[in-house]
């Protein structure tokens, strides 16, 4: 007899942050691509509109990033992000083997979700890199482009704006790649839509045998 056990994993503040962040970053990616590959012959959207939307959602995402940081500080959510370097390699290998092999053999996941463990090691590493490297990097370089007087004019031979812009675009691209993988991995599981429901209503269903 299996019955469904619900655990509350995504508190309201986290869901609000996540919604703003997800929507904001989707807009940032679309408008960012529009600007980067702007072409008079093929217009995805008006350039001026793209610039304005990009600026507004960039600011929204930056502000909501502080919600994420403060929320994590104040609640116990940050404990899910704690990473032990020791044994990390083995744990990551286990998870990768599961995703590429075990999952097709109907094996059970090596790091099942529980109240104590929201993320498997791969998720943890990915979220840490994205939330503490990519997103802050994007925010800082984005501010630099919005207020060019803040950044160094020249770094050796190179123009400061040029470097900042390249870094910004590269981080934006990597974040887009993360998003694609993030969306796909979230659909893994018995019911592909379950995780998406969780990030909306907060509850995660586990099957107890």
């Amino acid at each position: 007899m299996t019955h469904v056990h619900k655990i509350y994993l995504y508190p309201l503040w986290l869901r609000i942050w996540h919604a703003i962040n997800a929507l904001g970053i989707l807009i940032l990616i679309t408008t960012g691509i529009t600007m980067q590959y702007s072409n008079p012959a093929f217009k995805l959207m008006n350039f001026e509109l793209a610039v304005n939307l990009h600026n507004i959602s960039g600011i929204a995402v930056s502000v909501s990033y502080f919600l994420f940081i403060i929320g994590n500080r104040l609640t116990h959510n940050h404990t899910y992000y704690r990473l032990k370097l020791k044994g990390l390699y083995t744990k990551l290998t286990l998870q990768i083997v599961y995703y590429t092999y075990g999952i097709f053999k109907n094996q059970s996941p090596p790091f099942p979700i529980s109240e104590k463990r929201k993320f498997n090691p791969m998720q943890k590493v990915a979220y840490l890199i994205v939330m503490y490297l990519f997103v802050p990097g994007l925010i800082l370089t984005g501010l630099g482009l919005l207020f060019p007087e803040l950044i160094l004019e020249n770094i050796y031979q190179l123009s400061g704006i040029f470097l900042t812009a390249i870094l910004h675009a590269s981080l934006g691209f990597l974040t887009s790649i993360f998003l694609i993988i993030h969306l796909y991995v979230a659909s893994i599981g018995k019911y592909p839509l379950n995780n998406f429901r969780s990030i909306v209503n907060g509850y995660h269903d586990t099957n107890i045998h």
Binding site: S38, F47, N52, F173, I181
Partner: protein, 312 residues
């Protein structure tokens, strides 16, 4: 004896080294007769009536900048090459005011030495511009090109910022200065910041693009287009600059890029460029790397998805 000789040598060297750079850009010595008054706040002259030395205030609008003059294209000229020689007397004779001065075309028109500047073609284009159409002959070349200070920046400077500043100051000398604006027009100058409110990062733009980039039609055979069009025809389309085949390549960065490319190769010009224009600097290497990475990720996901469906 020895040491005094040595110090003499050092002194000589010192003078030599000190004066060498200055000598290159020095104005004609004859000009002393004018600049003794025209670079100072006050003038002293012999009052022929009272037979006394008089000291008076100089008209501040007639004070020239000597160094600035020396750096201009006509820096080696004598003042009296252009102005009547009678100016050497003071008080200047009233009729001197009335004598017309040479225009650019008077001296440069039809002169093969300046063929590369295409003065005649510039004149032709200028006559089509709104300035000439609305104000006619009273809008002379000198209204933009101060004959005392003009430098051929757009071809001699390698700094985009420098070129832009110099060029935009010509326009700003009227468009942000009502006194000079009203030499031509009876109305007040429109406020530039307000007219261009639609342009984001306005200050950054005005530092990196010339007014003429948006306000003239680019003529390929001319390095600087002179046909300033009515405001309705001004460039408002961001993508004209912010795209790969940017018009900036054809105008502002033309000389710089052509020079740079032949000297240091294309990559260097792109990397060392002082301005980064979103959309216009697409790096081919980064583009290919990102497309490949993107495809790899998508293929991985697709394979995984198919395996998931098959094994269900």
């Amino acid at each position: 004896m020895r040491s005094s000789l040595l110090s003499l040598v050092i002194l000589f060297q010192f003078c030599f080294v000190q004066t060498l750079p200055a000598q290159e850009k020095q104005i004609a010595p004859e000009n002393d007769q004018c600049i003794k008054c025209h670079t100072h706040q006050t003038i002293t002259f012999e009052n022929t009536l009272t037979k006394r030395e008089d000291k008076r205030l100089m008209n501040p609008l007639y004070i020239l900048d000597k160094n600035h003059f020396a750096q201009g294209v006509h820096g080696r000229f004598k003042c009296t090459d252009c102005h009547p020689a009678e100016y050497s007397h003071y008080p200047h004779k009233a009729e001197l005011k009335l004598e017309p001065l040479s225009t650019c075309l008077d001296c440069h028109g039809g002169d093969a030495r300046y063929a590369s500047f295409q003065f005649e073609k510039i004149d032709e284009e200028f006559q089509k511009s709104v300035h000439f159409q609305k104000s006619g002959e009273s809008f002379t070349c000198s209204k933009c090109h101060d004959q005392h200070y003009y430098q051929a920046k757009s071809r001699n400077s390698t700094e985009v910022g420098d070129i832009v500043l110099f060029s935009n100051q010509m326009c700003m000398s009227c468009h942000s200065n009502n006194n000079k604006f009203q030499l031509i027009s009876d109305s007040l100058k429109p406020a530039l910041a307000q007219i261009h409110e639609w342009l984001p990062n306005q200050e950054l733009h005005f530092k990196n693009i010339r007014c003429i980039e948006c306000h003239t039609q680019v003529v390929d055979s001319l390095s600087v287009s002179h046909n300033i069009m009515p405001k309705e025809k001004a460039l408002k389309n961001c993508v004209e600059c912010h795209s790969k085949n940017s018009m900036l390549e054809a105008s502002l960065y033309k000389y710089k890029n052509l020079q740079g490319r032949s000297q240091k190769g294309k990559l260097h010009t792109i990397i060392a460029n002082k301005a980064y224009v979103i959309g216009a600097y697409q790096n081919n290497l980064l583009n290919s790397v990102s497309i490949i990475l993107f495809l790899v990720v998508l293929t991985g996901i697709l394979i995984h998805l198919i395996a998931r469906i098959v094994k269900k």
